[in-house]
Symmetry: none
Subunit: 216 residues, 4 copies
DNA sequence: TATGAATGAGTCTTCATTCAT
DNA sequence: CATGAATGAAGACTCATTCAT
């Protein structure tokens, strides 16, 4: 009868500050609810309730549940990107050594993922997201790899030749492991500090070794 | 009136072979359906249909949808474990060098995750699994780390001191990266071969470096 | 998430007699509910309740509310068609005069519309019916005009030249007036008998006049 | 908490001209919206938007959606009545023959219904109108029949005895057929001109025949 | 044991209406 | 008087689960 699934953006960003606050409130509530219940069981009513608004208001700002998920993911992508650039700028300015730089990066990402460890995966794996979001995600990863490659070029310790490939591996590794560790912070075989150290060591030795040591 | 969430085991291991086949059929169907539609949209009716049994029969063998998810996850854990041990045995027998061994391991895991790349995450993140499953999962990882540590001890190239920690890092890294790569095989910045090579290189250089190169 | 609005037929005519009864029960209930509340206010829950089945059962047989409306309309078209042919056959067999034939026809239609006077209009005007239903409706009217033309040919009293046009006018007139009268049976300016008589007279004098009496 | 269904009149005839224009604008917008979307899907927000006023303003002038429908219907009744009297006056003045008079009448009504063919039915069949509106409708029809009877008396060609009954039949016939035809102007078995001619012929022969030609 | 029709709690979403500004 | 953000009751529809056959 009606035409669902059209725009996935807030209908009209109804202009001002009140709305900004409301939208943010809904998104934060959604993040909590999805984190706690999963996507399917994270009902829009629960989100609205947690956000302290009526269900009607929620739908004033988001045309569908899916739109909320998309907004959440885009927010996450933006935040990750922001963190990365901030870190890169900081590193360029501070001129620390490679190990220190990696340590800083790993710590930052671990911190970031410790907030809502499960959210991304819930969003990524259980939501039938429109393709453009997946594209955006891949694009963001590609961009991150490139950015990182640019930074790595500045370190004399780095011996790898294909810096973009190396950047990709580093980004993926940090993202994945950091995320995994954050998901089960307590019951781990290894302490947080040790984990960071080992990871940094791995990355450092990888970046500073010149090539596959020997043929298989 | 409803009786959700009771036992999560197959009611009675219903005697013998006929049932064995049926249970397997249902699990395989569930794997396909969850992979394709996600957990929430993977309806029990769809699973039953794909398995070629009636919905009634499905509920003869599994008391709830959740029980199917749990069984699937346990099956996956067992399989991973099996693969690991097989590989370890093979490595012990063949006496290859470290790099070759790692290459074999990485390739095997990548292969394994390429089958149903999304299934685990769907199961892990969207199902409110009973805690004992999470425990089992962590336990399995711990065991894997130990097993790997045992193997690593046999290689003279390995210089790491805390082998269990190293085993943990290796297991996690391979598991994560392999999984990530398998999820988006096409649109990657790096080829499959390069990916494997880089990953192996990273692991090798990590394992064969004696310690953090320098203090931070 | 799912794909609504596909088929508008009962999903699978689930085979047997029980279903036949259920489908009929639902349709009858729907007819009553739509008649009483209008299309929009005729909720599927109300229909199910009136039919004595659960809402789930209703959706086992009809994929959407619209499908129910369509089925109802198709049923009506079929019934009208059936009535018309029955009447034609009867008239051909009985060899009554034109007036008697018309009287019989008008009475029959009036009877038929007295059952649920508003239903058709509700279905026609408020439901966003798929186009093929509208086509079917027009087609049915065209066929009725033709059928009637065939019958009129048998009456010597009929002087009209364009029998199909005449058939069309008669069908439309009877359908419309009969319907209107049935809608407000009580509070009419004219009695039911008089109404039928006048209508018959009008039709008779129309059919038996040779042409426009005079130029305008 | 809700206050549905209270008064159905504009709250206060809010003074003068500005309001007059606003009310008219809303009604016209409502007519378009109902015609295009049906009653249920014709939302008050859409009406307000089309009228170029805020939803709040709409509710300043109409206490409910239903009140708009009622006002629309009353407007329609008044207009029909106006047309009829205009026509009668014209006919009395011009002294045309019966056929010409009928032709004029039919043409006028056809024209009128061609504007928003579906609106009336939507209003009539899908809105749970308060009874007094139905009363008013019937009353208007009765009055029309009487008015028409008065006119018919002036024509020597008319032989019918019960002029009021005849007036009723004529009014109903013209109203119904004209409306039906207007609703599906394109796909008709008969052209517009032919339709008018046939209808006029039918009415003329009816009015000028003295009585049921023969007993049944 | 297998079947599949029936169930109904629970979901997302809409929209008439209110009221603070 | 006008505005439009907020409200929440209510509706269409889904799907895990049961149970009579």
């Amino acid at each position: 009868m009606t035409a669902h699934k059209q725009r996935l953006e807030p209908r009209k960003p109804p202009v001002q500050k009140r709305s900004r606050a409301t939208v943010d409130g809904i998104l934060s509530a959604a993040a909590q609810v999805f984190e706690a219940h999963g996507y399917a069981a994270g009902t829009t009513n629960r989100i609205a309730e947690r956000a302290g608004v009526s269900i009607g208001t929620l739908y004033q700002y988001f045309p569908s549940k899916e739109a909320i998920a998309v907004a959440l993911l885009e927010r996450h992508i933006a935040e990750t990107d922001h963190r990365l650039h901030e870190w890169v700028d900081h590193m360029v300015a501070e001129q620390h050594g490679l190990r220190a730089a990696l340590h800083d990066y790993v710590t930052g990402m671990l911190e970031m993922h410790s907030e809502r460890p499960k959210l991304q995966h819930i969003l990524l794996e259980d939501t039938p997201l429109p393709d453009r979001v997946h594209q955006a995600l891949l694009e963001a990863e590609r961009a991150a790899a490139k950015t990182l490659a640019g930074l790595l070029r500045l370190y004399s310790e780095v011996r790898r030749v294909h810096l973009e490939q190396a950047g990709f591996v580093v980004v993926q590794t940090v993202e994945s492991l950091t995320h995994r560790f954050a998901a089960h912070p307590d019951q781990q075989i290894i302490s947080r500090t040790s984990f960071v150290d080992e990871l940094v060591t791995m990355l450092e030795s990888y970046l500073s070794c010149s090539a596959p040591r020997d043929r298989r």
